[in-house]
C-alpha cells in the first residue's frame, strides 16, 4: 500500500505539526488543506494529492487564528490544536464571520479530549479581533 499524506508530511518532510491521534479518519487531528479544502491526511494517499496545494499548520503559523486560539485559551494539551486551527482556517476562509451554528457544524469533526470546545468556539468567533 502507498504512503499516506500524513506519513509523507511527518516522516519524509519532517513536518511534525500535523498530528496523528487515531490514524483512521475519526478525530481530525491530522487535518490539512488541499487547495483550501480540509482533508484527513491520515486516510489520504499521497499519490492522490496530484497538483493540489497542501497547507499544513506550518503554513498557517502567522494566521490570526493562532493568536486567537491562545488568547481565548482554546487549547489545553494542545495535541489536537493544529488540526483544529487548520479546520478553522478553512471555515473562516470561506465564511469570514461564521455564526456559532456554522462553527459547531464545521468543527464537529475535530475531537478535543480536553474539552476546550467553548474556548475554540470563542477563538473562532473572535479571530479577527
Amino acid at each position: 500500500m502507498g504512503a499516506t499524506l500524513l506519513e509523507t508530511l511527518r516522516g519524509e518532510l519532517g513536518l511534525s505539526g500535523t498530528k496523528i491521534a487515531c490514524g483512521e479518519g475519526h478525530c481530525g487531528a491530522c487535518t490539512v488543506l488541499l487547495d483550501g479544502v480540509p482533508v484527513l491526511s491520515c486516510i489520504t494517499l499521497v499519490h492522490t494529492v496530484g497538483e493540489r496545494e497542501v497547507t499544513t499548520i506550518e503554513g498557517l503559523r502567522e494566521h490570526p487564528l493562532v493568536r486567537s486560539f491562545v488568547r481565548a485559551d482554546a487549547l489545553q494539551c494542545g495535541f489536537c490544536t493544529p488540526g483544529q486551527i487548520v479546520s478553522a482556517a478553512a471555515l473562516v476562509g470561506a465564511v469570514p464571520e461564521p455564526s456559532r451554528e456554522e462553527i459547531r457544524h464545521h468543527m464537529a469533526g475535530n475531537i478535543c479530549r480536553c474539552g476546550a470546545y467553548p474556548r475554540i468556539e470563542e477563538a473562532i468567533l473572535t479571530w479577527r479581533d
Binding site: 511527518r10 519532517g14 511534525s16 505539526g17 500535523t18 498530528k19 496523528i20 491521534a21 487515531c22 490514524g23 483512521e24 475519526h26 478525530c27 487531528a29 499544513t56 499548520i57 506550518e58 503559523r61 493562532v66 486560539f69 491562545v70 488568547r71 485559551d73 487549547l75 489545553q76 494539551c77 494542545g78 495535541f79 489536537c80 490544536t81 493544529p82 486551527i85 462553527i103 459547531r104 457544524h105 468543527m107 464537529a108 469533526g109 475535530n110 475531537i111 478535543c112 479530549r113 480536553c114 474539552g115 476546550a116 470546545y117 467553548p118 474556548r119 475554540i120 468556539e121
Partner: protein, 749 residues
C-alpha cells in the same frame, strides 16, 4: 531547615500517612484576591508553541537510528499460548529484534485480558514492525473468560480485600428513618482516549544508563519504577517529557510499552520508539471501571439523614486498583450511620487505571441521584435537603483546612432559581428541567516537591523543576507565582520543566495535586532568590535589607528610594542568584478537601429519549485561583468530558468472548463541539489559610465529579423518570420513563 514529619498524602483518593522529610514553610500567605500577576487571567506560556505545531511531543521526537516497535497483543480475553513461532517475524523485512514471553516481564503466554502483550518486534519503520507482528504464528487455547462483576465477587475473584467503612449503625439508622429509599445504580466502563496515545522512546548509553522520552504524568515515578524493574541506579535513568498530549490519569507509570521498548533498545543498541495505535489505546492503557452500586438512604421527615448505606462493586479488570466509589458517601453528608463496602472484581478484562477522580465520579452519580429520589419522597427542595445535611466538621474529629460548600450553595441559588422558567420552556414532547449535585474530592497535594529559581544579570528568572505540564496550564501558573514573588512581569519568567536530569524532584500530575504541591515550592524558591537579590541591593544602595522589597521590576525601600532591578542584577556579570524552595507539610490533623456544586439544565424528548444538556453552572471551592483563564478551561473541560461520560461514551465488551468492541473513535463516542452546552464557571476563590504559603488546592478533577448526577437529576425534574444507569442511552431513558408512568399509574386515585 529540613525536618522529619509525619504527613498525610493522598493521590487519586488513595490516602496514607507517611514519614517525609520536609522543609519548613516560613512564608506568610499573600492577601486574598487578585494580586499583580497571581489571580490575573493570563494566556498560557506555551500556548503559541502548541498552537503553531512547534511543541515537540513525544510523538514528534525522532532520534538518530531510531527503530519502531509493534506489539502482538492477545486477541482473546483469556487464553493460553500453546505454540508460538517468532521466526517468521525475525525474517521479515527491516526487523532488528523480536521478543516474546520470558524476554520482558510484561510479555506473557497466558494472557488474562484482551490486549495483554505477548510478543513485540523492533523494525526500521513502524509499518515493517506491524507487518512482522502479523507474521508471528500463535496457536491459542481459548479459555472461558470471567466477565460478570457480581459473579467475580461471589467467587472471591478480587484484586484486593473488600474495603469496609462503618460509622454508627446502619440498621439502627434505617429504623429511625421516616422515609427509606433504595436503588441500584450502574456506571459504564470509560476510556481515557488521550489524543496522544501512550508512547515512549528508550535509548541506552552502554548497558547501565537509560534515557526515556515518554508521554507521562509523573516523570519521577517513571524514573523510580524503571530503575527498580531494570535494576538500575535511579540517577542512571533520565526521564524527559516536555509536552504531553493528555493523560487524565492513565499515564502515571512507565506502561508495558516502555518495558518492551527498553528491552528492544538494549538488544538492538538503538533507540526504540514504542507508540500505541488508537486501537491498542482502547485495549491496554486503562479505563474508568464500571460499577454496580446498591444504595440505601433513610431520613426523618424534615430531611435529616439517619442512614446511608452502599454496597459497591468495582469491575476493576484483570489488575489495577479498587477505587473509592463509596468515598462521596463517607465524605459528603452529615449522617451518624454510614456503611460502605467496596469490592474490586477481578475480571478477564483490561485493567483499570486512575481516570480523573476515580471512584468519586461514579460514586457521586449514585449518591446524588439517590439524594434527589429522597428529596422527591420527602417533597423537599433538593438544594435545601443538601443544606440540611451539610457536614460542618469531619466525622472523624478533624477540622477542615477550609470548607466553603455553603458558600457554593449560596452562589448556586441564582442558577437553581431558573428552574421555573426553564420548566416553562417545555414544549410538546420536549420537556425541560433543572438538577443539581454536590462535589467532594481531595486535591490538597503534599510534600515532597522542590523547585529552583535562577536569576541572571539580565534580570530574568527561570524556574527549574522536573515537573510536567500535562495540558492543565501548570507551567503558566508556576511562572505567575514566581513572577509575583519576584516583582517581575510574567514575560520575564520562564519555566524549565520536563527533564529529570535538569531539575529537582516534582510531584505527580494526578489527583489534582500539581498546583497545590508545586506552587508553594516555586514560591518558596522565588522568595529565596528575592532575598538574595535584596541582600545585594542592601549592600549596593547602603540600606537595611529589612526595608527593601521587589515590586514592578524595582527594588523599593519603604523609607524612600527605588532602583530598577536591572541595576542590581547587572552587577552579577556571569554570576547567578540561585534560589531553592520546597513544598512544606500539610496541616497536621486537618482534612484537606475540595468542594463544589453544579446545576444542570436539560431538555428531554420524551418520545425519542433524546437528551440535550443546555446549560451547566459550576461553582467550585478550591482555595486561591492562580489563573482565572486556565481555571475556567479546567472547569469547562471537566464538564465536557462528564457530558460524554453521561450521555454517549461506553466501552463495550462482547458478552460472550470478552473482546473489546469499541476500539475506534467512531464506535467510542466522545463529545464534539456540537454537544457542548453553555457553561458557567464560578469560584469561591478564598485562599485556604491552613494550606501552604499559597492557599490553593487542585482543580483538575472537581469539575468532572458532579455533572452526571446533576444531569440525571435534571432529567428527573423534567420528566419524573429516574435514570439509574450510565450512559443515559435512549433505551435507558425510555425505560425510566416507562417505569415512572407505571409508578404514577399505580398510585390510587
Amino acid at each position: 531547615m529540613a525536618r522529619l514529619i509525619k504527613t498525610e498524602k493522598e493521590v487519586e483518593g488513595r490516602y496514607e500517612e507517611t514519614w517525609v522529610v520536609v522543609e519548613e514553610d516560613v512564608l506568610d500567605q499573600w492577601p486574598a484576591g487578585p494580586l499583580t500577576v497571581v489571580g490575573q487571567a493570563v494566556e498560557r506560556k506555551d500556548g503559541l508553541e502548541r498552537a503553531r505545531g512547534e511543541a515537540p511531543y513525544t510523538a514528534d521526537l525522532k532520534l538518530p537510528g531510531m527503530l519502531h516497535a509493534a506489539v502482538l497483543r492477545s486477541p482473546h480475553a483469556r487464553a493460553n499460548v500453546k505454540r508460538l513461532d517468532l521466526e517468521p517475524a525475525r525474517r521479515s523485512l527491516g526487523v532488528r529484534a523480536v521478543v516474546g514471553p520470558g524476554d520482558v516481564h510484561v510479555l506473557t503466554d497466558e494472557p488474562r485480558y484482551p490486549g495483554q502483550p505477548v510478543a513485540a518486534v523492533a523494525a526500521d519503520t513502524f509499518r515493517q514492525a506491524r507487518e512482522a507482528v502479523k507474521l508471528i504464528e500463535v496457536e491459542w487455547e481459548e479459555l472461558e473468560p470471567l466477565l460478570d462483576p457480581d459473579e467475580a465477587v461471589a467467587r472471591g475473584e478480587l484484586v484486593e480485600e473488600p474495603r469496609r467503612f462503618e460509622r454508627g449503625d446502619l440498621e439502627r439508622g434505617l429504623a429511625k428513618a421516616d422515609v427509606v429509599v433504595e436503588a441500584e445504580y450502574r456506571t459504564q466502563t470509560l476510556l481515557h482516549n488521550c489524543m496522544e496515545t501512550h508512547q515512549s522512546i528508550c535509548r541506552w548509553h552502554g548497558d547501565r544508563k537509560l534515557d526515556v522520552f515518554i508521554s507521562t504524568q509523573f516523570i519521577w515515578g517513571v524514573r523510580e519504577r524503571l530503575a527498580d524493574q531494570l535494576g538500575l541506579d535511579p540517577d542512571d535513568v533520565r526521564v524527559v517529557c516536555e509536552f504531553m498530549g493528555g493523560g487524565f490519569g492513565s499515564k502515571n507509570g512507565p506502561g508495558d510499552y516502555t518495558y518492551i521498548g527498553a528491552e528492544l533498545a538494549k538488544r538492538t543498541g538503538r533507540p526504540v520508539k514504542c507508540a500505541l495505535t488508537r486501537r491498542e489505546e482502547s485495549l491496554a492503557t486503562g479505563n474508568r471501571n464500571a460499577t454496580i452500586q446498591r444504595l440505601v438512604a433513610g431520613a426523618k421527615a424534615d430531611g435529616t439523614l439517619t442512614a446511608l448505606g452502599g454496597e459497591y462493586v468495582n469491575a476493576v479488570g484483570w489488575s489495577g486498583f479498587s477505587p473509592m466509589t463509596g468515598g462521596p458517601m463517607q465524605y459528603l453528608y452529615a449522617c451518624d450511620n454510614v456503611r460502605v463496602v467496596e469490592h474490586g472484581a477481578r475480571l478477564n478484562a483490561p485493567p483499570n487505571a486512575a481516570f480523573r477522580a476515580p471512584g468519586f465520579v461514579e460514586g457521586t452519580f449514585g449518591l446524588e441521584c439517590l439524594l434527589d429520589e429522597l428529596a422527591a419522597r420527602l417533597d423537599l427542595d433538593p438544594l435545601e435537603l443538601r443544606r440540611r445535611n451539610h457536614l460542618d466538621a469531619d466525622p472523624e474529629g478533624r477540622s477542615y483546612s477550609s470548607k466553603n460548600l455553603m458558600e457554593c450553595y449560596r452562589l448556586a441559588e441564582e442558577h437553581w432559581a431558573r428552574r421555573d422558567t426553564v420548566r416553562a420552556r417545555s414544549e410538546g414532547s420536549w420537556q425541560r428541567g433543572v438538577g443539581l449535585a454536590s462535589q467532594v474530592w481531595f486535591g490538597g497535594g503534599g510534600p515532597p516537591s522542590y523547585a529552583w529559581v535562577r536569576v541572571g544579570a539580565d534580570g530574568r528568572a527561570v524556574v527549574v523543576t522536573a515537573m510536567q505540564d500535562i495540558g492543565t496550564g501548570t507551567r503558566t501558573a508556576m511562572a505567575q507565582i514566581a513572577a509575583e514573588e519576584l516583582g517581575l512581569p510574567l514575560d520575564r519568567v520562564e519555566v524549565a520543566l520536563g527533564d529529570s536530569a535538569r531539575g529537582p524532584y516534582a510531584s505527580i500530575s494526578a489527583g489534582s495535586s500539581t498546583l497545590p504541591s508545586m506552587g508553594p515550592a516555586v514560591r518558596s524558591a522565588a522568595a529565596d532568590a528575592a532575598r538574595q537579590i535584596l541582600e545585594l541591593a542592601a549592600q549596593r544602595f547602603d540600606k537595611e535589607q529589612r526595608v527593601l522589597s521587589l515590586k514592578d521590576e524595582h527594588v523599593v525601600a519603604s523609607d524612600g528610594g527605588s532602583w530598577p532591578l536591572g541595576s542590581v542584577c547587572e552587577l552579577l556579570g556571569d554570576g547567578q542568584v540561585l534560589g531553592k524552595g520546597a513544598r512544606g507539610p500539610n496541616p497536621t490533623g486537618m482534612r484537606v478537601l475540595t468542594f463544589g456544586v453544579q446545576v444542570a439544565e436539560v431538555a428531554v424528548d420524551v418520545e425519542t429519549g433524546e437528551v440535550r444538556v443546555e446549560r451547566v453552572a459550576a461553582i467550585h471551592d478550591v482555595g486561591r485561583i492562580v489563573n482565572p483563564l486556565g481555571a475556567r478551561s479546567q472547569v469547562e473541560g471537566g464538564i465536557v468530558q462528564a457530558i460524554g461520560h453521561t450521555l454517549s461514551e461506553e466501552r463495550l465488551l462482547d458478552p460472550e468472548t470478552g473482546t473489546v468492541l469499541t476500539q475506534t473513535l467512531d464506535a467510542y463516542r466522545m463529545p464534539t463541539i456540537a454537544d457542548v452546552p453553555e457553561i458557567v464557571a464560578e469560584f469561591v476563590d478564598v485562599p485556604d489559610q491552613h494550606l501552604t504559603n499559597l492557599g490553593s488546592k487542585g482543580l483538575g478533577e472537581p469539575p468532572i465529579i458532579p455533572t452526571a448526577a446533576a444531569i440525571a437529576n435534571a432529567i428527573r425534574d423534567a420528566t419524573g423518570a429516574d435514570v439509574r444507569s450510565l450512559p443515559v442511552t435512549r433505551e435507558e431513558l425510555l425505560r425510566a420513563l416507562r417505569e415512572a408512568r407505571e409508578r404514577v399509574g399505580a398510585v390510587p386515585a
